[in-house]
Symmetry: C2
Amino acid sequence: MTASDAAETVRVELGDRSYDILIGPGLLGDAGRHVSTVLPGIRAAIVTDDNVAQHHLETVRQSLADAGIETAEIVVPAGEPSKSFATLQEVVSRILDARLERGDAVIALGGGVIGDLAGFAAAIVRRGMNFVQMPTTLLAQVDSSVGGKTGINAPHGKNLVGAFYQPRLVLADTAALDTLPAREFRAGYAEVVKYGLIDRPDFFAWLEGNWPAIRDGGPERIRAIAESCRAKADVVARDEREAGDRALLNLGHTFGHALEAAAKYDPAILVHGEGVAIGMVLAHEFSARMNLASPDDARRVAAHLENAGLPTNLDGMKTHLRDADSMLGFIRQDKKVTRGALNFILTRGVGRSFIAKDVPESEVRGFLVDKIGQ
Amino acid sequence: MTASDAAETVRVELGDRSYDILIGPGLLGDAGRHVSTVLPGIRAAIVTDDNVAQHHLETVRQSLADAGIETAEIVVPAGEPSKSFATLQEVVSRILDARLERGDAVIALGGGVIGDLAGFAAAIVRRGMNFVQMPTTLLAQVDSSVGGKTGINAPHGKNLVGAFYQPRLVLADTAALDTLPAREFRAGYAEVVKYGLIDRPDFFAWLEGNWPAIRDGGPERIRAIAESCRAKADVVARDEREAGDRALLNLGHTFGHALEAAAKYDPAILVHGEGVAIGMVLAHEFSARMNLASPDDARRVAAHLENAGLPTNLDGMKTHLRDADSMLGFIRQDKKVTRGALNFILTRGVGRSFIAKDVPESEVRGFLVDKIGQ
């Protein structure tokens, strides 16, 4: 086994759409070998952003070239605004300019924005090309690289246009995370914690003891990412198109999305993982208020997230939240609403989350009034 | 059974994506009842074009309203240019304006352009809404309403961006075809003939005897449409995503597409079904030249298509075809090319078509030189 062989492989079982996630250090430098094993004889478009391109594009391009894979490089501006119709059209056009065929590949090299954008382009060019993910952020490695959600934003809201489209291969290079800003690594870690809180109490307990080692790299980081991918893959395999169980993955996200909206999606104020961290604590506190779980669980969750340097309460958001009703308005706009009823992921304790339908709005409002004020 | 009950139902078997095609006169006037049976409690967006809207929009809107289905109407300009990124974005935006959710429906009321455009919008809004087809042309009823191909055009070529996305229900109102121009009806009929030529020799023989009755309406028209839908559904059920057998549906289309491109997609010169009619005759002639089939078959096919008022040779196209090589150039641009090799649908006789891979370009060129000149 060479240094670039994957330390872990997670198989996502989806019938004829099954694929492997390889996880380990140095995978980007060996991308050509891995891609050509799964997709022999192809050409490819590498979609990335101007930040990631500086760190990793030449490594990947050279590795693919060494394996005989001719590439076109498509570099878009870094950041959420690239998840737009205009950028999608540009990426689609560049893929067609390169005369790639259905059997060729679109490679997403970057974080969640690039994965969502490039994956959607792969889904629609020639009604579906091969798609390969090379996630370079912790969030993308543990979240967007599993499950096949791709898409762009609309003026009406985030991720309102897209497709469910599975990759043929995911290369999660854990060494690529060393170039990630600390804040972004912590934000991705919130999603790692989420998998423990949904239905893996032992994993959560292990995380409580191993956060410093995960942050600093090494085998604990690989294990945390692999266990997260396995957890998400389990849920997705049960419910690929989000008809039921998959909603569990939204633990902390209803409150979290509302907070992101309240912060006008300004990453200087709040990034997605931070919203999820606060949202998970609120979900545990709300569950305690509904007498479903002990307040001790909420305190335990908050303590670990705080230890990892994540926000766990609304203190930093006070200036952006006018009152309980304005936050309720943001919650109503969230797309996880089935014909007007409020759906929430609640919990009976650490690792015991469940889907609650028809949660009374009055209960949510009462909880928010206590938190934010009338 | 009331007058508006479907005279025929064709089931398209695609596992959990299976659906029914109802075929008969007066279905648009009873759309509300049929839609609410399959999709109870929904709201809907009706996507149509300004021509079709004049004939049928109020009928459908009223019928849906009577069944308690609230609708938003989205009317786009008639014609191929609406299969564009710009119009797609407009339709998507209007669906989101109407605050439709994933469980609501997008209804395509019109011909192939509307079906492709609205179906693609349904596929990508909220990563997939319910989709209902109400095809109002013969071509759309026998071709685009079965198989789930949706999409738009790119500057690089037709249908290069899209999705495979199945409807939940198709209502093929055979009386709606009475408002169709004769030329458009004949062009759609070319695709009906195609199903006989692929693998249903008895159907082709029946068509030879029944064209006038099909043209004039009545039970023969319903039978011809139902048999066509059944034929296409059989092929699609075997190969939903066009990995193999589905290519049989391209009989006559490689030559046909090249002719459409040579005519610059100007419907005043040639419409799709006319290109397919000529293409099918050429495919039979080319098969005879390859000693695969008897020249009598090509003559028999040409005779029936001519009898139906369709073009069957290149006489009308001479001014648009410079030479054999220019036509070969258009053929090479066709997207049904696997890594540079020329794929053709050839035949061993009426109803005995097959997929031929790696057809030597020199043979095709020789055939075209004989037809068009050096």
